[in-house]
Amino acid sequence: MLSSLLLTLLLLSSAGYYLGRNRAFRVAGDHIRNLHSLPSFYGSYTALWCGLPALIVVAVWAMLQPGVILELVVAGLPPELRELPPDRLGLVLNDIQNLVSGNIVSSAPDPAILAAAEHYRNLQLTGHVCLWIVALLLATAGIAYGWRAISPKLRARNQVERVVTLLLIASSTVAIFTTVGIVLSVLFESIRFFHKVPLTDFLLGLQWSPQTALRADQIGSSGAFGVVPLFAGTLLISGIAMLVAVPIGLMSALYLSEYATPKLRAIAKPMLEILAGIPTVVYGFFAALTVAPLIRDTGAALGLQVASESALAAGLVMGIMIIPFVSSLSDDVINAVPQSMRDGSYALGATKSETIKRVLLPAALPGIVGSILLAVSRAIGETMIVVMAAGLSANLTANPLQAVTTVTVQIVTLLTGDQEFDSAKTLAAFALGLLLFIVTLILNIIALHVVRKYREQYE
């Protein structure tokens, strides 16, 4: 229903475009120069007048209609149904809606509910017909208005461009509102969690075992929600990953941008970037099946106790995975440092490495920090490799040879499978998510500060 209406509006708008453009040609007389704007702007002007108001009405209508219809249906229900408690009433309404859309209903429908469904269907039909009529009327009125308004003096270009600006603003706010929405949803669930588990227990607890008891006398379900071991695991693995990725990434970026011949660079850079395209699950089993046994055997040969799932294995492979984030972005920013900087340094008798150390790296620092930051957030958010290679046991340890687990892995294990959304166990996932978000936010702010303080601007 709605899609065919939108299609019709689109057709009408394009008709409006041609009408407007033709009229512009007509009022221009023998010379387009007489017009304030190019004819296509007059076309767009008419099309916008045709499409925009109608679209806005359709959008608002589509948002309000279900609610209004539901109100009307409830009002039309027999009193004994209407007086039901809210949750039972909700079930009845659900049944009615299922009947309307032809889905399976919970029980054999009684006549009152059947009648209500019929009522619902009628209301829906009326609503749609009204919407069609209103939208088409508005669209034609828009065309008429736009068409009549066209004159050589009409500043169609400015008005069309203003609409385009508004469109751009709207697009940029989508991302912002999405972020706000995500944060709010996580926040509310987290608040529910903190009603069950005190904030201090959560932040300072050294024990993580999220099994809560169903019955009071159940054993083996202590239900400890201390995040310290999880964050320690996250930091340990991310730290190992950064120890691998930053030096290797930076040095390969320096080689690519300063030493490699253009030919080699053209081949090597895409090859490095392929690393970023490998699915993380592939890295995961590479870590679990190849690297972890290798580390265990090496450790055994050296007389060390190595768990078969270790932070080291996960961290190493994760480090390899994020090398391209560091190298590719750093390479770009180092390349963006003007050649005149290099020339200036060489002309003073500096060697290549002195130039890199003292001129290029400081000048490219903001970009390099940015790339490292991106890599860090990638490392903190990475889940698959850790699930497969580092294990699930929440050990509080700084020993990279032991199994650890991370925040993201715990979120996954808490939320996979059938869940009841009011237990502390499930809600803990949201609290973890919120904490993770806050931590990365703080990291971002720190990095921004560092960049601003040490940046050397070259323009």
Binding site: D343, G344, T351, Q457
Partner: protein
């Protein structure tokens, strides 16, 4: 002829004969435009650098042909010529800055104090410490004013300790005529200075390494007349201690600051001689055409 143009182009400077065009041209002027052998005396009595039969190729392009000239100690020599004539290319040969261009190939001999700078045993890093360079567009490093000047002495280990470095930075800025303007703002970024100040900072930066020769590639082309005047004054003062080679598009500038002038045309060194003579009595028709503004 077109006297008006000439008067506009050639400054009525003390160094020049105001009635330059009235002086009859030497009867030996070469009027053949295809004559590409260098006219004039290429040698000097006390050469700092000797260039013999220098050829430069960019890939297949023969950018500079058989250029031979001497650069005398403590003189200012100006390279002039229309765009693309090879003067900047030649300048960049003198401290091997062309090494950074992969497709560039150089033949011939360039000597600094008798040593061929393209010899295998020559360390290009040390060469560039002896032959400094100032670029067309001021290119201070994105560091503080102090750090910009201290850069060279630091990488060459020229000083022991902070006090000595401070002194050297002060002295270099003073010789570049910038000290009064930056004394109180040594920690501000070099890029916060005005264009002319930035260029003098680049000169100070070059002087700090205590080079023997300073190459300047159109050092004033991005500057306003007042900043240009300051730099020209500075060039004149620097001549006492250094040998200067300056590429310029402004013939007034060449006339004002240099003792000898070399005219390049499409990869050839056409004419070289005393600046006065080049501007008053060019021996080659091409030179005359250029300095009288007939082209270029």
């Amino acid at each position: 002829m077109n006297t008006m143009t000439i008067e506009a182009r050639v400054p009525l400077d003390g160094a020049l004969n105001p009635n330059a065009r009235e002086v009859p041209l030497s009867s030996t002027q070469i009027t053949d435009y295809d004559h590409r052998q260098t006219v004039g005396k290429i040698t000097v009595d006390n050469p700092k650098m000797l260039c013999r039969e220098v050829n430069v190729y960019y890939s297949e392009k023969h950018a500079l042909r058989q250029v031979s000239l001497d650069i005398g100690a403590n003189e200012v020599i100006a390279f002039i010529g229309p765009s693309g004539c090879g003067k900047s290319t030649f300048l960049r040969c003198l401290n091997r800055m062309n090494d950074t261009i992969a497709s560039c190939r150089i033949t011939g001999q360039i000597q600094l104090d008798g040593d061929n700078i393209y010899d295998k045993n020559i360390d290009v890093v040390q060469l560039r410490a002896r032959v400094g360079m100032v670029f067309q567009k001021p290119n201070p490093f994105p560091k503080s004013i102090y750090e910009n000047v201290a850069y060279g002495p630091r990488i060459h280990g020229m000083v022991n300790g902070k006090a000595e470095l401070d002194e050297l930075v002060q002295a270099s800025l003073e010789r570049a005529g910038l000290i009064k303007e930056v004394e109180k703002r040594m920690d501000e970024p070099g890029t916060s200075l005005s264009g002319g100040q930035q260029q003098r900072l680049c000169i100070a930066r070059a002087i700090a390494v205590n080079p023997e020769v300073i190459l300047m590639d159109e050092p004033c082309s991005a500057l306003d007349p007042i900043a240009t005047a300051k730099i020209e004054e500075l060039i004149d003062e620097l001549r006492e201690n250094y040998t200067l080679v300056i590429v310029t598009h402004s013939m007034q500038q060449a006339a004002r600051v240099s003792q000898r002038t070399a005219y390049f045309h499409l990869g050839d060194l056409i004419e070289i001689g005393e600046t006065d003579q080049i501007f008053t009595n060019p021996k080659h028709k091409l030179t005359e055409d250029y300095i009288t503004g007939r082209f270029g």
